[in-house]
Symmetry: C2
Subunit: 503 residues, 2 copies
């Protein structure tokens, strides 16, 4: 939108909002709270100047540091419009419009990731941390139900057909079946209580949490918050491409399954924070399915695709079909393409609209392959009408801004969750990253998505003096510069940013 | 602000932002992402109309349902201004301005609650859920360190002077001393790991979580997420005023302390969700201090003041001094006043700016009496510069919107955290609630803050047909209408809302 179009849109938004306020029998402002209009104007002017003077210049072609996308004006204005009505998506009562928008967004995300439309479920969250916490909470709780059912004299008959190693590591559909049977028998609360008690024993514990050495730092918090002991956390080594060494996983998992040691979840990453690497999801899915075939027992697969999830748009046509990998034109490798396709087989997936989704903070999301899994964490909430069960009964979080739902909805509608929409944009980021990799001799590996690591004696501070914004990370135990490419740079723009200080 | 002042402010905000974008070498919009300006304009128009047609009419004098405050225009515009620059308060690098604003806001909240300025610490969160989770995470971890230190042959000498019942229930300052000594000895990580392992045993567990029957539903989630077993959760009965029965607490706590049974936390509420009741914080603080005097051992006191925290402004003069209770003019009872004053003695406090703070979602906050306690949950994060340690290393959450910090900052600056600012506004809510209580014969109790429960055969839906918006709750096991008063209604406005259908 041009500057004048942006102003016209704002005028309409504000006018409509003020009509609404008058219709509510309220004045145009809450003047009782802030009676001094001059003070308010001065404060806004100061804030505006301060932000414009000192903000991180992320729209600049020379800014390649944090994961901040260049949010389109229409998305910012969708957020602003909604902010004026301040809806709370904790329950539809408090957000009649944005709860609907969130349902649309949830369907979008399920479709983007290839999840089955009849069972899949998604909701927004404050960010990737919350989505990851919730995924592990669901997996930990759901997967400990069969064992707990077996430990209760009254519920044992419901799982009598399952051998011990399946009780320890039920395939997700088996765990959900057990859960449904417990609910039908009126014993779910009881079994959940017993499961919580059994998870707090030295013998069982919460189960193993298996993730890679490069998993996001939030997983350290997540494991601790959710009561995992250090010995429960298995850190897998990385292969030469900074992806999970799946061979190590293929050794570890059958050993645990055969020993009857419960696994709470295996976490793989689609777009690691430090390197942007994409784990071999297809092969991990294969392992999960082979374990089920061979042992009748397997693990919960969670994908932390906070960064990379939106790249799956590259694999989708505007008609919602899968698009074949195109060797000549694809901005990502076949490995990455295959991993993106395989996301559809995961049990839970974290995806952050506030990263590649082109929306402002805060907007994370959790996608759940089978909505029924959320019953393992659901609570009741007593102060809403029975008619519309509030979302907050099945989410880790309570109050959630409808503003975020509207922003994501606007971005999805205007950009499009397919190769010609997000695919074109993110393909442009990847293309830029590939060209930077080729142009910088000390770039350490071919980027999977949009992040480069560079071996350099210079610090981010030194480069800032040259007008270049980068961050730092650790690769193979050594400090590196990290370039996170959240924009398309044409060959000419790339020349203009002045890479010389980096070389 | 008048409508024209609002427009002028927006014009300046947008113009300054567009100058900033041009200064960054970027166009006025990310046209590559949303090239179709007409589609964008149409979408914004639709969204605006949809919101104005169907949003919950919370500014209306007839809206007494959800906890949605009438956010002043200046606060909405502060949020909008900041949204345009999309800062992420996970680290100062990504939010140079709003990290500073959050520091100011943190100091405000510590001062509002009377916390010692030299040790106290606060930060914003996505809401009360996250703040409560984090508080219990800190308490659970910190308080299990002394016991873990005693269990390690290498660390035992550090706690040799502490008897077993103190190891189980260390006063906060003792737990922090132990933590600091462990850190100095280079054994903190080791002790934290041992503590996590010991918490996952049938014998010790995570400790007792003591809260009232009316604690917010998020506490059920919180206990489950953090690995508390049903038997660890002690639900205290309520007294006749729907406050914690402190006599029951005074029996339970010494029994646990004498038995050497660890208590993770006692949670009291300042403004319960269903009834708005305020627990007798002063007497609970006294119990905590008496236990320390009598046994050398005591509990962590967390206050869930998500709703009620801002009422403490009633107790503060604009000069930052304590204001005596004024029998004639105070809109709250002496009991409530005393509880508000006593907040300053809590170990951790949850307070939600997006409730009585007059800011839009999402804005919760956690206030911590002694910042050092956060070392019990801190992690490292490897992709930022060493110089500025990111906030995300000590918070439950990662990405956090700088927009929220700016909104809270604007509200605090424009309203004022004292009796003539928030005190006047919230006093007006309480005054309105008192008058509603007097006017409605079936109102069940004199409200502590701003929530009434009404015995009525009518449902919220029936009342909506009369243009009245209320919600429902449970009181003493029976369904009630719940009126949540988030505005001042003059006697005339109260007459105009038409209470008859409620009576």
């Amino acid at each position: 939108m041009r500057a004048d179009q942006i102003r016209t849109a704002i005028d309409q938004i504000v006018e409509t909002h003020q009509e609404w306020r008058r219709g509510c029998g309220a004045g145009e402002d809450n003047d009782a709270a802030t009676p001094d209009a001059l003070a308010a104007q001065a404060l806004l002017r100061d804030l505006s100047l301060r932000l414009s003077k000192s903000s991180t210049p992320w729209p600049s072609p020379r800014y390649l540091a944090h994961m901040t996308p260049d949010v389109p004006a229409a998305v910012l204005l969708a957020a602003f419009t909604t902010l004026l009505y301040n809806p709370n998506n904790v329950a539809a009562e408090a957000s009649p419009v944005t709860t609907d928008l969130e349902s649309e967004v949830a369907a979008d995300l399920c479709a983007l990731l290839g999840m089955p439309s009849d069972t899949a479920h998604a909701h927004l969250a404050s960010g990737g941390h919350a989505a990851n916490y919730e995924a592990l909470w669901i997996a930990r709780n759901l997967r400990s139900l069969p064992h707990a059912a077996a430990a209760g004299p009254d519920t044992r008959p419901l799982v009598a057909h399952l051998p011990d190693h399946v009780l320890a590591n039920p395939p997700t559909h088996v765990a959900i079946d057990v859960q449904q049977n417990l609910a039908r028998a009126g014993r779910l609360d009881n079994a959940r209580a017993r499961a919580a008690t059994l998870r707090c024993t030295a013998e069982r514990g919460p189960g193993a949490l298996i993730l890679a050495a490069n998993a996001h730092s939030c997983w350290t918090k997540c494991a601790d918050v959710l009561g995992f002991r250090p010995a429960d956390v298995h850190r897998l080594p990385l292969g030469p491409e900074h992806r999970i060494d799946v061979a190590a996983l293929e050794k570890l998992v059958p050993t645990l399954i055969q020993a009857g040691a419960p696994i709470a979840a295996v976490v793989a990453t689609v777009g690691s924070c430090g390197q942007g690497s994409v784990d071999d999801v297809a092969r991990i899915v294969q392992l999960r399915d082979h374990c089920e075939r061979d042992y009748g027992a397997t693990f919960h697969l969670h994908l932390d695709a906070a960064l990379g999830g939106y790249w799956r748009a590259l694999c989708r046509t505007p008609q919602d079909a899968i698009r074949a990998w195109d060797e000549e034109h694809s901005p990502v490798s076949f490995d990455v393409y295959s991993a993106l396709i395989a996301i559809e087989h995961a049990d839970t997936v974290t995806i952050d609209p506030h990263k590649a989704g082109h929306v402002p903070y805060p907007a994370g999301a959790l996608v759940i392959r089978d909505r029924r899994a959320t019953a393992a964490v659901a609570t009741a909430n007593d102060y809403f009408d029975e008619a519309a069960r509030p979302a907050g009964e099945r989410t880790l979080e309570g109050a959630r801004p409808g503003t975020a739902a509207a922003a994501v909805w606007a971005a999805h509608r205007l950009i499009g969750l397919h190769a010609e929409g997000y695919g074109r944009l993110l393909g442009g980021w990847s293309d830029t990253a590939q060209r930077l990799h080729q142009a910088i001799p000390t770039s350490q590996y071919r980027p999977d998505l949009n992040i480069l690591n560079i071996n350099s004696a210079k610090s981010p501070q030194e480069l800032r003096a040259h007008g270049l914004w980068v961050s730092s990370t650790t690769l193979d135990g050594a400090d590196r510069l990290r370039l996170c490419v959240m924009k398309y740079l044409s060959p000419e723009a790339m020349r203009n940013i002045g890479l010389r200080p980096l070389l």
